[in-house]
């Protein structure tokens, strides 16, 4: 028989109601606490349109999902929970429209969801809210996607790291934790770098941390359990945006493709050289 993990042991002990509170207290001392910051984005196949004179994203018919880079991080966090024991909370800065997305995070294994109730005006507002939450609620590991696939800012984890003065590893593709230190592999342009860092740590997560096949689809049991799990709505602190989108533009329509016969490679080379001037 396999040795029970801390988490299994914890679940077993917690079934005894009288001891539950005591054991939760004891395990809180030993188990790692992970916070996954998730943003809620249009699914990757969405058509991008705008309304109100191109000032607002048109969400009609758009399905919102957990930002893929955040989901890779969340899945790794749940892996830690199941393999070595950890508490996994998810946090979102935004409005109630994101609650179904948070419930999904609970359904695939997160323990608690927190929503800081304020419009996510820009990365600075989001980072201020997360940093403020972390001051009162410390975590060992904070995970935020490398970038969100809607506004592509790539700013939040670095801002939080600076505000809370904790270590940050971006574009993290591998993460192991041993006691109070982490070994994190960072993807660079044209290479990989293995970094050794003390906790607490914030990482910018992306694919590689887990594989595409490791991503979870909520099952019925998970969905039922998610309904019982806490979703805390927290009042936001005051914070000012440092940037504002005035309006959106769509890229100019593209000219039709020039098709070249498969047996006339010379023509392609000629066009690339003399017309496109890229050779």
């Amino acid at each position: 028989m396999n040795q029970p993990t801390y988490y299994e042991l914890y679940k077993l002990l917690c079934t005894h109601n009288n001891l539950k509170i005591f054991f939760i207290f004891v395990f809180h001392l030993f188990l790692m606490k992970i916070l996954v910051c998730i943003s809620c984005v249009p699914d990757t196949t969405s058509k991008i349109n705008f309304k109100e004179n191109d000032t607002v994203f048109d969400d009609q018919g758009v399905q919102f999902v957990i930002n893929p880079n955040d989901e890779f991080g969340l899945t790794r966090a749940i892996w830690f929970k199941e393999k070595v024991g950890a508490f996994v909370d998810v946090l979102h800065v935004g409005q109630a429209s994101a609650d179904p997305t948070l419930r999904k995070a609970l359904a695939i294994g997160a323990d608690k969801a927190i929503r800081i109730d304020t419009p996510a005006l820009d990365a600075f507002v989001v980072a201020d809210q997360i940093s403020n939450y972390l001051q009162a609620n410390p975590y060992d590991l904070i995970i935020a996607g490398r970038e969100s696939i809607d506004y592509n800012g790539s700013m939040v984890p670095g801002l939080v790291a600076a505000k809370c003065d904790i270590a940050f590893v971006n574009t993290c593709v591998q993460l192991e934790i041993d006691g109070s230190t982490a070994t994190a592999t960072r993807e660079m342009d044209g290479g990989m770098e293995v970094l050794s860092v003390d906790l607490p740590l914030i990482i910018g997560s992306q694919k590689g941390l887990v594989e595409e096949n490791d991503l979870r689809i909520p099952n019925m049991r998970g969905i039922m359990q998610a309904r019982q799990k806490p979703l805390e709505v927290v009042t936001a602190v005051e914070s000012l945006a440092k940037s504002a989108i005035q309006n959106f533009e769509k890229p100019a329509p593209k000219a039709a493709v020039k098709l070249i016969p498969a047996d006339d490679i010379d023509q392609l080379i000629d066009l690339l050289q003399n017309e496109a001037k890229v050779l």
Binding site: L159, K242, N247, K250, V257, L259
Partner: protein, 314 residues
């Protein structure tokens, strides 16, 4: 007040994007009617940027030999304060994006990434940036006392200037938060981030054993190799080569897609490339709608011929 540009280097040598960034920096300084300073860190050939219109070039000497985001951000925050910088200009490399957020946090500065041109207005400072993975642009105003602009790759012309740039060395002391345990870097090979040409393969190549075709063509062109999402998911190629919405973005001069049908997520990731060539057996492949040049044909016939002809030409 001034404009401060951080030009990245690697193993002491300037990175390729630094001349484009410097040209943008000079144009920005002219537009803002202010002085222009370039900063490098542990760079041995910084003087190569002496004719891009900067009034001053400062090379910071730091004990940490390799890039460490926290140490770099601390050093840049210090020099930005000393130089009274109002706009800080950085690139779009993995390192720049890693460090940018920390720098903005330290300085309480406004920050925008993926900027595609010079500001369209000075009061308030307004820039155009790409959003929704290149499916749209957002005209964005910045309200920081200091603002950081992260410039996309390949969006500004390189123009050198006759200039009287003074070169200074300064020592800085900072502390790192991360310790490098090991580093694995492909030497002398073009990377997806800074190659002029990227050759990318999809499921149409039928298996990893056929990747020689992609690599041969890339070799002739001095190109980086890339792949579509299914190819990296099936383990034919490493994740680091996956380009697209959830992979690496590509903003190159020439992107050659072989056997890639062009799912919307893939197109989003490569749309910022200037010229796209598509080779695919299926004339209905959606990628043809987004391409500049296309060949409807079998990669296994077209690629060897193309490689051969390009080799003969060189």
């Amino acid at each position: 007040m001034s404009i401060l540009l951080f030009a990245e280097s690697q193993q002491g040598k300037l990175k390729k994007g630094s001349t484009e960034l410097s040209s943008y920096g000079f144009a920005l300084a002219k537009q803002q009617n202010t002085t222009f300073t370039i900063v490098t860190i542990n760079c041995e050939d910084a003087d190569q940027l002496a004719n891009y219109g900067a009034s001053k070039l400062i090379n910071l000497k730091m004990e940490t030999k390799h890039f460490e985001a926290h140490a770099y951000a601390t050093a840049l925050a210090e020099i930005a304060t000393k130089e009274d910088a109002k706009i800080i200009l950085i690139g779009s490399s993995a390192d720049a994006k890693y460090m940018g957020g920390i720098l903005a946090g330290k300085l309480q500065a406004g920050y925008v990434t993926n900027v595609v041109g010079l500001p369209t207005s000075n009061d308030p400072l307004t820039v155009k940036r790409s959003v929704f993975s290149n499916k749209a642009f957002a005209n964005t105003t910045l309200a920081g006392a200091i603002n950081i602009i992260g410039l996309s790759n390949n969006v500004h012309e390189e123009i050198s200037q006759d200039s009287s740039t003074t070169v200074e060395q300064q020592d800085v002391q900072t502390t790192a938060k991360c310790t490098q345990a090991s580093l694995e870097q492909s030497e002398g090979k073009a990377t997806i981030a800074d190659a002029d040409v990227v050759v990318s393969g999809g499921r149409g190549l039928k298996g990893p054993e056929n990747w020689g075709l992609i690599e041969d063509l890339a070799d002739v062109l001095g190109a980086a190799t890339a792949c579509s999402k299914p190819v990296s998911d099936m383990g034919w190629r490493p994740h680091s080569e996956h380009v697209g919405q959830t992979g690496k973005p590509v903003a190159t001069n020439l992107y050659i897609a072989v056997g890639i049908s062009g799912a919307i997520q893939h197109l989003a990731g490569v749309n910022a490339s200037k010229i796209k060539v598509v080779i695919n057996t299926d004339p209905e492949a959606p990628f043809f709608k987004a391409a500049d040049y296309g060949i409807v044909g079998d990669a296994f016939e077209v690629l060897p011929k193309l490689t051969e002809k390009l080799k003969a030409r060189a």
